[in-house]
């Protein structure tokens, strides 16, 4: 019922995202249909090329969707254009392959009769081969269409909009209703297209011609529209992960606190750094201990109004697990306040830029603290340690595992890389994992979700936050927080260092002033 209410409350935005979603999918499909059929036809006339080209087109389909979007950024930047290109590449294989095989499968006797009666190659194609291959070609278009409605949700990660915005935001914000608000329309859209295309398929011989003509007209309109729409405005652009944009302690509050006027787009956290480096965006929202800050020559803008809440990292454990293995508390006390911001940033840098294994980095750090690291058990696991899907969480999970195996008799299994806080908390509650590295601020805002007045009274003081979260987690969820590790990985605004220095921007207040000066 909550889902329905949420959807009704957000009907406007759902409608807007659905239109964006449709638009991206449709444009990509139109281009893929026209070029795919053309390419398929050409391949039937140059059969030697068919194996390598169909192979090449097939490779695009084997590249994981998100990786394909990642490859797009250095070349095409972020936004709608790379999203359309990625979807186009996805749609190409079924269309090219079906066109090619459809034409080759036309009965050779029919082709011979047509040629023997005096048809030119073009007449053969137009009057015989394409009409007879149409059902197979159309099946390819239908497959590609339905796949692409699904893949288009990922386009939200490179600032192209669409129904994926709700889905990823919902995962990040631990909000099931929001996930459904994106997933339900996306699924309905896929079903709708499948149904409509199935209806068209029944009368495909009659309908294919108007459809292709319609596609060609739309294609021209798109080109006109894109050229016209690409005139850009002179505003600073910011790219934030969806979690950051829509969190009260993220951009929403930040905007109020500093009176910031930024054009924001949603970007996947993993793709964000590439985007700022390529000047696709000017500002990104990152974390203070991120190793890529150094690697990409970015500058952390000082939070001079102390807006961002404290995010002290600590292991969060299931109550049941801790009661069964009380020795865990002692184990993690060994790490209490042992890691500084700089040390954590350095470890992240080792993994992100020097491409070292998180496990090796974690082991080296523990060794440098004079802790034991040599035990590495295999076999039946006593506890499972999880992590989120970013570098720091991977390193910490590995560190926890080494520590537990060296300072207790427990054997650890690792279940790493859950995307988003919600999935980790669900896994912890369900007993799929026993503990994972979490942050006090995240626990406060996504797990406990206290009323605003309580929040205001806590947010400035890191110890108050930790103790409040620890107490409420135990009472409400039977989760235990062990000793904080010492560093504070809070949100930060990052800019290209060069750009920031050039315009004398050191703090977020400076940024706000600079933007105002641009608009005057």
């Amino acid at each position: 019922m909550g889902v329905l209410k949420f959807m009704i409350d957000n009907l406007g935005e759902i409608w807007e995202q659905t239109i964006e979603h449709l638009w991206i999918t449709l444009v990509a499909m139109i281009i893929a249909t026209l070029l795919g059929i053309l390419l398929g036809v050409i391949l039937t006339r140059a059969e030697k090329l068919s194996a390598p080209i169909i192979g090449l087109v097939g490779i695009f389909q084997t590249v994981p969707s998100l990786a394909l979007l990642g490859f797009m950024i250095p070349v095409f930047g972020i936004g709608v254009v790379p999203a359309i290109i990625a979807l186009f590449l996805y749609a190409l294989l079924p269309i090219v392959r079906n066109t090619y095989t459809g034409i080759l499968k036309v009965d050779p006797a029919i082709k011979e009769a047509a040629i023997g009666m005096g048809m030119t190659d073009l007449q053969l194609l137009r009057k015989v081969e394409i009409p007879l291959a149409t059902p197979i070609i159309f099946a390819g278009i239908r497959t590609a269409f339905v796949i692409n409605v699904g893949v288009a949700t990922l386009c939200a990660l490179i600032a192209a909009g669409g129904l994926g915005e709700f889905i990823f935001r919902g995962i990040a914000l631990n909000n099931v209703n929001m996930i459904f608000a994106g997933a339900i329309p996306a699924a309905l859209l896929a079903l709708f297209f499948d149904f409509v295309l199935a209806k068209i398929q029944e009368r495909v011989q009659v309908l294919i011609r108007p459809m292709l003509i319609g596609f060609s007209v739309l294609f021209l309109l798109v080109i006109v529209f894109v050229t016209w729409g690409s005139r850009s405005k002179n505003v600073l652009k910011a790219g934030f992960p969806s979690e950051f944009i829509y969190r009260e302690d993220g951009f929403i509050g930040l905007k109020k606190a500093y009176d910031l006027d930024l054009e924001t787009t949603e970007l996947d956290a993993g793709l964000m750094y590439q985007a700022v480096k390529n000047e696709e965006v000017d500002i990104v929202g990152g974390y203070t201990t991120d190793g890529r800050i150094r690697a990409y020559n970015l500058k952390i803008l000082t939070d001079d109004k102390n807006y961002f809440p404290p995010y002290f990292a600590a292991p969060i454990v299931r109550g049941a697990t801790l009661r069964r293995y009380p020795e865990l508390k002692g184990v993690f006390d060994l790490l209490a306040n042992k890691i500084s911001d700089t040390e954590m940033a350095q470890m992240n840098y080792e993994v992100d830029e020097n491409k070292r294994e998180p496990k090796a980095v974690a082991k080296d750090f523990l060794a440098s603290m004079g802790l034991k690291t040599q035990v590495d058990r295999t076999g039946e696991a006593d506890i499972a340690i999880g992590s989120k899907n970013f570098t720091e969480s991977y390193i910490l999970a590995q560190m926890f595992a080494i520590l537990v195996e060296n300072y207790s008799d427990l054997t650890v299994s690792l279940k790493l890389g859950f995307g988003g806080t919600k999935l980790n908390l669900d896994a912890l509650a369900g007993g799929d994992i026993d503990l994972y590295p979490e942050y006090s601020g995240t626990g406060l805002l996504l797990l406990i979700k206290p009323p605003q007045n309580v929040l205001d009274s806590l947010i400035d003081d890191k110890d108050k936050v930790y103790h409040y979260v620890k107490k409420k987690s135990r009472e409400d969820h039977d989760f235990e927080w062990l000793a904080p590790l010492g560093f504070n990985n809070t949100h930060a605004l990052l800019m290209r260092e060069e750009y920031a220095n050039e315009h004398g921007i050191q703090s977020i207040t400076d940024l706000s002033t600079y933007i105002k000066s641009l608009n005057d």
């Binding site: 009965d107 009769a113 040629i115 009666m117 005096g118 007879l132």
Partner: protein, 326 residues
């Protein structure tokens, strides 16, 4: 009309067609006969350039067929293939209209032509709007032939045109085909492996084996004057029937002893009827006493005789031909 000079086709170092030469006169039907792999179909397909010759030349009405684009050549040559190859997405009418449409005929002219061809082929007019999948094998064959004849081409090439039909339908369509008036003045080249079809339809037969012509001549010449041992062997197993098939009543007339009782019913035969067909028809009557009347095209020169006298004449003529060959 068609002059083929020393054409060869080499596939993978193998001479599929090996220095083949022949001529087809205007209005004549030449049958390319042979087993599979004899090169007969390849030879046919070189005539409309579906297969490019490795060597040699082909002239139609004195002009080298390589002198113009193949599509233009093919528009003037009717083509019928074994599997018929009707376009499944076209109606019967659209199938028949294929070449006229390629030639940009006016709509009126096309629909008139379709109607007259359907009538000619003995197909009901309402069949025009049906699709090939709704037709029987024999009907498809007729539509295929109508399609090949649509633009009234002077030359028609037929590749095993009746090969896909069951024996009874095939026999019936062969007879109809032979009697089609539109085909009388057409120059035709027909490929078959069916010896009886070759004799039935061919003015001359070109017997091929391993890419080479073994003998080219009238059916009578091939049976009674075989050029070599291959030709003799090729017809050996069905020799007796074939001898009956190649001789017409006209061939037997000089030796037929007249008999006219002046009474009773007579069975009437055209003098062009083969001796085999005559005997088959008489067999059906079971009455040896029936009188037989033989006449020519114009119903002149009636000859009256009896079944037993026909046999005598057949044996005499056959003996003479064999002696002559030796």
């Amino acid at each position: 009309m068609i002059a083929v000079h020393e054409i060869s086709k080499v596939y993978n170092d193998k001479n599929v067609v090996d220095h083949v030469s022949f001529e087809v006169k205007k209005g004549e039907t030449l049958v390319l006969l042979g087993t599979s792999g004899s090169g007969k179909t390849t030879t046919l397909k070189m005539l409309n350039r579906l297969v490019p010759p490795t060597a040699g030349s082909i002239h139609i009405d004195g002009e080298d067929i390589m002198a113009e684009p193949p599509e233009k050549l093919r528009l003037r040559i009717g083509y019928v293939i074994q599997n018929i190859g009707l376009f499944p997405h076209y109606t019967v009418a659209e199938n028949i209209a294929t070449v006229p449409v390629l030639l940009n005929w006016e709509d009126n002219r096309i629909s008139e032509r379709i109607a007259s061809l359907l009538q000619l082929m003995g197909l009901p007019q309402e069949m025009a709007e049906r699709y090939p999948s709704e037709l029987s094998g024999g009907q498809k064959q007729r539509v295929g032939l109508a399609r090949a004849l649509a633009a009234d081409p002077p030359i028609v090439l037929l590749d095993e045109p009746f090969g896909a039909l069951d024996p009874i339908t095939r026999r019936q369509i062969q007879t109809e085909f032979k009697e089609l008036e539109t085909l009388l003045d057409k120059t035709m080249v027909l490929v078959t492996h069916d010896i009886f079809e070759a004799i039935e339809l061919g003015d001359r037969i070109c017997l091929m084996h391993e890419g080479k012509i073994q003998q080219i001549g009238t059916p009578l010449a091939l049976i009674f004057e075989p050029a070599n041992e291959f030709v003799w062997d090729y017809f050996k197993t069905q020799r007796f029937q074939l001898e009956m098939k190649v001789l017409t009543l006209k061939d037997l007339l000089p030796e037929i002893e007249p008999f006219d009782s002046g009474l009773g019913e007579k069975i009437i035969f055209n003098e062009e009827t083969s001796f085999l067909d005559t005997m088959e028809r008489l067999e059906a009557n079971k009455n040896d006493a029936f009188q037989i009347a033989i006449f020519n095209e114009k119903r002149q020169n009636m000859h009256f005789t009896r079944k037993d006298k026909l046999w005598v004449a057949f044996n005499k003529v056959k003996e003479k031909l064999i002696n002559k060959a030796n």
